[in-house]
């Protein structure tokens, strides 16, 4: 299911840029970071940073120096799950004898990688989200640089020729008042001619396809990895049987225990809770501990209590009407992060794999409507209820958004499903949505009446 709304990958990429550049530039950069901003305008992204300027370490290259910069690219690498691609190389410049030597100052750069394989987009006027993904980096004093780009949204499909155009652009550097250095990255800055190249992204390592499928939904719940995707992966896992499914989850855990997979435990938890159920009907499936608020507090405060288990049997996930839902909480990341290898062991020791595949029995918007009227939600305090409502509605909409007319553009930043909920709900009711078992996705019987 490809996203029809172009904004989402852009949004994600913007945050990715922010996340990784923080990690890299901060650790190697000599100047003290003062302030910064990051965002996008239309299809163009930008990032501004202000540093305390240290004479002798940083320098603003002259026009001539900029023109002489060339890049020696190293072979790119990808992680075993084929999710992150590491691009690295050395920035060189000509010395007085005309020989190329590594640049001798710290230089900021933006690295661009084309989204589509086999094409050579024109980047003389910079790049944008439609043609490239970008990442900022600090070139070290020995001229080397390294960036990690997430291929998740725009990687070439397996079997495609993985040759992608790459290049670098230089940000505008100005020394400001108080001697601070202002670095302004614009994806619209022209990509240096000398840097353009075609990089061969290596084929991903041979790993069981199910692991790649898990990696695909690792952003659950999001617009790109929603419950429909989770159902698809969960059903594939279920078919493998208990031992193989657990083996796959453990393998995924091993492989994703590297930098860049901050929420790897989230998907493990979501999948394990979706495909397993306790062998003993009396056993609780709530495995988390800690001090939380909202639903988490209710679910965890009395784990052994029968009434709690009646309400939230497999917190923080629940299967309702054949669909996995994630309940909201401020602490959801914390909750998921507390999932560990021990939990997978627990599933091995106490659970069986579900007998039937996950199969939605009604349209997700209606399921959410009923769910939210249940006393367990009504009894939450208003803030937590609102939060859960927002998250559940968002998940429901993500599952069928490709079948619906896109939401108005003013919501492009973060579509406010809630404000359009009534409309969406009536569309969902009037359109004959059904779950296609063959395609493992929602389909429409009749056209949508807007």
């Amino acid at each position: 299911m490809q996203s029809t709304n172009p904004s989402v990958p852009f949004l994600f990429l913007t945050f990715a840029v922010f996340f990784y550049s923080e990690g890299y530039s901060q650790s190697h950069f000599h100047g003290k970071h003062i302030s910064g901003s990051v965002g996008f305008e239309g299809y163009v992204w930008y990032e501004d940073r202000e540093y305390e300027y240290e004479e002798g370490i940083l320098k603003v290259p002259t026009e001539e120096e900029r023109d002489n910069i060339a890049v020696e690219w190293n072979l790119p690498t990808v992680d075993p799950l084929d999710r992150f691609c590491t691009l690295s190389g050395t920035l060189r410049t000509k010395n007085s004898k005309g020989l190329l030597i590594p640049i001798y100052w710290q230089q900021m750069i933006a690295v661009h990688l084309a989204i589509k394989a086999g094409v050579q987009p024109d980047w003389t006027r910079g790049t944008d989200f439609r043609t490239a993904m970008g990442e900022v980096a600090m070139v070290q004093q020995d001229g080397t640089f390294e960036v990690i780009l997430e291929l998740n949204n725009c990687k070439p499909r397996l079997g495609e020729l993985r040759e992608l155009q790459a290049g670098i652009s230089l940000p505008q550097q100005t020394v400001r008042r108080k001697g601070n250095l202002m670095i302004e990255y614009r994806s619209s800055a022209p990509v240096l001619d000398n840097s353009l190249t075609i990089l061969q992204i290596p084929a991903p390592a041979e790993i069981p396809p199910i692991l790649r499928e898990i990696a695909r939904v690792s952003h659950f719940p999001s617009d790109d990895a929603h419950a429909v995707h989770l159902i698809q992966v969960a059903n594939s896992l279920r078919q493998l049987g208990k031992d193989e499914a657990l083996k796959a989850l453990e393998q995924y855990q091993e492989l994703s225990m590297v930098e860049g997979y901050p929420r790897q435990t989230r998907i493990l938890c979501a999948l394990a809770l979706s495909i397993f159920e306790p062998a003993d009907p009396e056993m609780s499936m709530i495995l988390l501990n800690g001090n939380f608020s909202g639903i988490a507090e209710r679910a965890l405060s009395q784990q052994g209590d029968v009434s709690t288990r009646r309400e939230w049997p497999r917190f923080p996930i629940e299967i309702v009407d054949g669909m996995p839902w994630l309940y909201s909480s401020d602490y959801q990341d914390l909750l998921f992060d507390s999932y560990s290898k021990d939990h997978l062991k627990w599933f091995r020791q106490h659970c069986i794999i579900r007998e039937t595949p996950l199969k939605p029995v009604k349209n997700p918007l209606e399921a959410v409507e009923s769910m939210l009227k249940e006393p367990r939600f009504q009894q939450l305090d208003p803030n937590h209820r609102r939060e859960s409502e927002k998250l559940l509605k968002r998940q429901a909409y993500s599952m069928v958004r490709d079948l619906f007319p896109p939401l108005p553009l003013d919501d492009v930043d973060e579509p406010e499903v809630e404000s359009h909920w009534d409309n969406l709900f009536s569309i969902a009711k009037s359109s004959a949505l059904y779950w296609s078992e063959d395609e493992q996705a929602y389909k429409l019987k009749s056209s949508i009446k807007p």
Partner: protein
């Protein structure tokens, strides 16, 4: 109303009996938007079964055709309906096969609440085709009746693990027969069943021997290791025969928990709980002493040590283990130093520590089994030489004799500091009075042992050690190695008694250097000494050292009331050349109020010590003091201004002092109020008087003051506005808010 809707829907259903499926659909369609709300309301009507019973047919319809949310609510409502018709009961039993385990669980709970009426149905359900129904029926039925052995026997052969997994805890009701059956399930092919059986065994008290026999098998299997250890722990001393099996089966997961996560492994706890091993198991324990992981060796050594002389036959093995582990520790330490990666180095050091622990445990156990201190010290000497560092971790040596202490005291004087340190550490774990005061004093002079002995002394409650600590403390103090602060800390930590400390203070307050004297005075200010004692000591200090006068006054000022002696002291201080000392004296006299009447003349005559000094408001302070003593009204506006000036600039105590006066002398207040009004209106340009003036107003409990305060609520200055708001709150609630001057 909602019930009416539900009932009217039922009427609608009754009117068209021809096509029930269609009717149910119609009913649902009519009610669908409100279905969840209606069910919620019905659920809340749980104490009115008469109402719920009327809608049982509708609830059954929802149970058959609803979605997850409505089905769940319908099941919950049926819980309160009392006796149910057969079709509804059948539906509930069918729900035990629901695709979601949450709903199955709720259905099972509801069936339980419905009581005996469901028993025949559940008995039939035990033979249902669906294993989910069989398993849920079994657990539900188990709560309602005692299921007979024949039925359970039959279910033990059930091909589905979901049925077998619930059997162990059901068998618990059946005594020895049940225990045997549970034990059989520990070897079940399904891991879930085996684990459930092992877990059930820990609650079995009818036949612990047979349970232990089976657990000795399961503890060897990786999948059931942890549960088996827990079960054995619950079985207590019955589990002794399983100790060697527990050690030989020690799993990575346990090692991980113990070594890397910093808390005791289950097996560690189990061994502590189960108690010493049996003598007949010594041979197997000997094998464990040579196991590759140091944790196994450490635990085994501990276990053998606890057996005491009964395990003498393993003494040589313990010796070998100690030396082996010492060498390993040394080797790993050398390797560790070469590792650059911090994380790896950390892991390495964890393992290394573990070898160290195994080594120390082996030495200790060697002593416990041989009870020969000379041999043990010979071993320790070898170990310490290999390690090139002392040993720290010794358990309490309850078996040690005074002769052992004598031997150790010789070792404590060894030239090898690591050895003497280790010997001192060992002796610290002896029962009380192992060393004579003379021995301690001798050891005190041993190189490198002084601090060690002190550290040990602070841990011990033994009178000999306490006495040693006191002697040591005094000695160290007079040799300049300790400060008054250190001693005060000792008192807080109860390492030094208060009388001892005070005697040191008493001496030092007279003979100490300036710094020591100030420290002594500070210590006195914070110590709960009797008032007379404190005054006497302070005055004594000041008599000897006039430069400590200000510090003394500060200490007195922290009191609420002052003795005649203190007031006299303050009056004498008025002639001091230090303006701050004079200010403190004035403050004290003002605070003492009429009690300091005898000093009035002295105050009036007090010259301003230094007009240019930073104490700009000396005159105002004097005025306050005089007024406070005479209970006199402040009649002149200029005097008030001076006070405000003081409160504005003398930021430390002035406001408090003014408050003090205001609070004490009620009759001051109208006068202040009248004058404040004038100040405020006449001297609009001197806004900086305003805040202290307003603060004084807040203390005046009459309407005029309130009105006056109110009139500033909309002052042009937002700081004043905020301040007035705070003050009004203070007037109303008495809740005093501390205002940070930076706020304004």
């Amino acid at each position: 109303m909602i019930i009416n809707i539900a009932c009217s829907a039922r009427v609608g259903l009754a009117q068209s009996p021809s096509n029930p499926i269609l009717d149910i659909a119609t009913w649902q369609e009519r009610l669908e938007p409100n279905q969840v709300e209606i069910l919620n309301t019905l659920d809340e009507l749980q104490h009115h079964p008469d109402i719920i019973v009327k809608v049982v047919p509708e609830l059954s319809a929802i149970l058959a055709n609803g979605n997850d949310a409505t089905q769940k609510l319908a099941i919950r409502c049926l819980e309160h309906a009392g006796p149910l018709p057969e079709p509804t009961l059948n539906l509930l039993i069918e729900t035990l096969d629901h695709r979601e385990f949450g709903l199955r669980f709720i259905a099972s709970q509801t069936l339980r609440k419905l009581g005996p009426q469901v028993v025949p149905k559940l008995k039939i359900a035990l033979a249902a085709k669906s294993p989910r129904v069989r398993a849920n029926a079994l657990v539900t039925l188990n709560d309602l009746i005692t299921i007979d052995i024949a039925t359970l026997d039959k279910l033990q052969q059930d091909p589905d693990e979901r049925v077998r997994v619930v059997l162990p805890r059901i068998w618990l009701k059946h005594g020895k027969v049940g225990t045997q059956k549970i034990c059989e399930l520990t070897t079940d092919s399904a891991i879930t069943v085996a684990i459930a059986a092992v877990r059930a065994l820990q609650y079995n008290d009818s036949d612990p021997e047979i349970a232990v026999a089976y657990l000795r098998e399961t503890v060897q299997r990786p999948d059931t290791y942890e549960e088996s250890v827990q079960a054995l722990t619950s079985l207590g001393i019955h589990a002794k025969p399983a100790i060697p099996d527990m050690l030989s089966g020690l799993r990575e997961s346990e090692i991980d928990r113990d070594v890397h996560r910093g808390f005791d492994s289950n097996v560690h706890k189990a061994l502590t709980y189960i108690g010493p091993a049996r003598v007949e198991d010594l041979q197997r324990l000997k094998e464990s002493l040579t196991f590759p992981h140091p944790l196994t060796q450490e635990l085994t050594a501990n276990l053998v040590g606890r057996m005491g002389p009964a395990a003498t036959s393993l003494a040589e093995d313990l010796r070998d283990a100690a030396l082996h582990n010492a060498r390993e520790t040394k080797r790993l330490k050398e390797q560790e130093a070469l590792i650059l990666d911090e994380n790896r180095r950390h892991d390495f050091s964890e393992l290394n520590n573990r070898y160290g622990m195994a080594c120390e445990q082996s030495c200790q156990s060697y002593w416990r089994v041989t009870r020969d201190i000379s041999k043990t010290m010979a071993l320790i000497e070898q170990v310490v030489t290999i390690l090139a560092e002392p040993m720290f971790y010794f358990d309490e040596c309850e078996f040690a004799t005074p002769e052992d202490a004598n031997v150790l005291s010789t070792w404590m004087q060894s030239d090898n500091p690591n050895l003497s340190f280790t010997a001192a550490e060992m002796i610290s774990k002896f029962p009380i009075s192992s060393l004579t005061p003379n021995q301690l004093d001798t050891l005190q002079n041993t190189r490198g042992l002084r601090w060690k002995l002190k550290e040990i002394a602070t841990r011990k409650s033994d009178p000999i050690w306490r006495a040693h600590l006191l002697r040591w403390t005094e000695k160290e103090y007079y040799s300049g190695r300790l400060s008054i602060h250190d001693l005060a800390d000792f008192v807080k930590e109860e390492r030094l008694s208060e009388p001892d400390f005070l005697s040191i203070l008493r001496t030092n307050i007279i003979i100490g250097d300036t710094y020591t004297k100030t420290s002594c005075l500070n210590a006195l200010a914070t110590f709960s000494v009797s008032e007379a004692d404190r005054t006497e000591m302070i005055l004594q200090c000041v008599r000897e050292n006039p430069d400590q006068r200000r510090a003394a006054l500060e200490i007195f000022l922290s009191q609420e009331k002052f003795s005649a002696e203190q007031i006299r002291f303050a009056a004498v201080s008025l002639s001091n050349s230090d303006p701050y000392t004079v200010c403190k004296a004035l403050s004290l006299l003002a605070k003492a109020g009429p009690d300091s009447i005898s000093s009035l003349e002295a105050i009036k005559k007090t010259p301003n010590p230094n007009q240019k000094s930073q104490v700009r408001n000396f005159e105002a302070l004097k005025l306050i003091a005089i007024c406070s003593i005479e209970n006199q009204k402040i009649e002149h506006q200029s005097e008030l201004v001076t006070i405000f000036d003081l409160t504005e600039k003398e930021d430390v105590n002035a406001i408090n002092l003014l408050d003090d006066i205001g609070a004490r002398s009620e009759f001051f207040l109208p006068e202040i109020e009248r004058n404040i009004g004038q100040v405020l209106y006449l001297r609009e340009n001197r806004r900086h008087y305003l805040l202290p003036a307003l603060e004084v107003l807040a203390f005046i409990r009459n309407d005029r003051a309130a009105n006056l305060l109110q009139s500033f609520e909309n002052d042009r200055d937002w700081c004043v506005q905020r301040y007035v708001k705070h003050l009004k709150r203070f007037r109303e609630t008495g809740e005093h808010v501390y205002f940070d001057s930076e706020d304004f």
